[in-house]
Subunit: 302 residues, 2 copies
């Protein structure tokens, strides 16, 4: 077993996932918890300290952090790099954490900003690190194409020659959570035990052509008019939200190859159902493997 | 001044508006409060009692209630009438309130359900009463056409010969409130003091063509990338949501006449901005006058 040499932390809005690596890049240990950026309520130093104390044997190894922690609402805002920056150059763009207690030890990965015509702007933080890992995993020759990273903010990213050339983000996960917790659909969204894939798929097909805010009301109208049981609401709302992403894909042109999926298995499964109906091939990448590859690339001395 | 003869209550999800009418239909008094269906938490009897006690001189007059109070989540679910039912026939479809304490005195207005091709379902509760009032106000000959009743659930309704022939509802107001109170845009949505109509109109133009869940993320991305001040977020999100309604109108065909607006002045103003950009004429109807006309029609003995 190698000696600890590096800690990588994917510190997002709601979750935090850390990996401890040896000098040869092998994974020594990992840890995940719910101490995301929002849960820390600004007390980032103590939160990081508590995490690092899990691995006392690694009390001096360098730490690299990616994700929302470097955002405008995070610990230290790290300027985005332009999307034309090759992802493999990310190690050269790490930014030292200014906090006195960790100075010299911690660095942050910058997010990526893509600006298109007509003021179109899209950004990512954390996903650029996973995409770097995917590049490492697939190799340069095979890595061109579309990637889908579902979650709170579902990201569709097109890579060409190792750089981001197109990017669209959908607030699907966030809208699902908001609608589940409050409002006129919440009463039926708390309990997903009646989940039915057929309901999800039908909603993705039928309702995604409507404006999203109309499709969501249609879900309510069906229940209110006793045309659909309330137990179908979670699958139906999920179908509306994810279906809107796939419907949008048709407007922007069909992917020329398989869409690579990087995300939680439950979401990957639902997107795979959508892909099948859209006649698009998918390739699910192992999130943990992708993340490990990313940290390996970021720990290399330059 | 006439003697009290009738009480009409528009009892919605979040608000309650009551009018006391004399036998000749003139308005004697009115009352509005925040004791909507949700605030009552199931204690509808005491809530109604408290309202009626405001007018002790009217302790025996009939009461008619419209709105969410008759919904699946309300006091007593009243089956919808089919949309082909002429709105002028609504007085014949009132349903007695079963509650012992009010038996014989209170009746509920049924909502309207429209079923279209392909399982399309839309429903209204409360708006059918306002539309009846609009019919009374405008007269049969002039009442055909589109009506827009903005709010928590923004309703576009087409009347022909006094009946609902098309209906589309958008969750615009509800989504705005959910995004304002929680989630990744909330930090910038609490304070609308920086509201700028130009930002609202630009968002309605530019972002409404994207999928709604993507347009909402674009708002966040613009702030995160310092391309837009956070103070522009409320107007921008509002533009995305209302713009989506007007964009949808273009897909479904331009209205042949003026769109009649029935709603709060602030929302009517924003929709009037959208209408101007879409080149569509609007006619704002006075909500209070519409509601009074409705109660006059519903109090007539049949």
């Amino acid at each position: 077993m190698g000696r600890p040499a590096f800690i990588g932390i994917d510190w997002g809005n709601t979750h935090r996932r850390a990996m401890l690596l040896a000098a040869d890049g092998s994974l020594l240990a990992q840890h995940a918890d719910g101490q995301g950026m929002l849960a820390c309520e600004g007390r980032f130093g103590p939160a990081l300290q508590a995490l690092l104390q899990i691995w006392p044997e690694a009390h001096e190894v360098p730490v690299v952090m990616a994700g929302a922690i470097g955002s405008i609402n995070g610990w230290q805002e790290v300027p985005y790099v332009d999307a034309r920056t090759p992802l493999r150059d990310l190690p050269a763009h790490l930014v030292p954490l200014r906090d006195e207690a960790f100075r010299g030890r911690c660095r942050l990965v910058p997010g990526v900003c893509l600006e298109g015509e007509g003021g179109q702007v899209d950004v990512m933080r954390g996903e650029e690190t996973q995409l770097l890992g995917a590049l490492e995993l697939l190799g340069d020759a095979a890595s061109d194409g579309w990637y889908l990273l579902p979650g709170t903010h579902s990201k569709w990213v097109r890579l060409e020659q190792g750089a981001v050339v197109a990017q669209r983000t959908y607030m699907s996960g966030e809208l699902f959570a908001l609608l589940r917790d409050r409002g006129s659909l919440a009463a039926w969204m708390q309990d997903a035990s009646g989940w039915d894939d057929a309901v999800f798929e039908r909603a993705a097909d039928e309702l995604s052509d409507d404006a999203l805010s109309q499709a969501l009301f249609t879900v309510r109208a069906r229940v209110a008019a006793h045309r659909m049981p309330g137990s179908d609401v979670p699958a139906c709302v999920s179908g509306v939200l994810l279906g809107a992403e796939w419907r949008d894909l048709q407007r922007h042109g069909r992917p020329d190859g398989a869409v690579r999926l990087i995300g939680e298995p439950a979401l990957v499964r639902l997107h795979t159902l959508c892909a099948r109906r859209a006649g698009v091939a998918v390739q699910a990448l192992d999130v943990q493997q992708v993340q490990l590859k990313a940290w390996q690339a970021l720990m290399k001395p330059r």
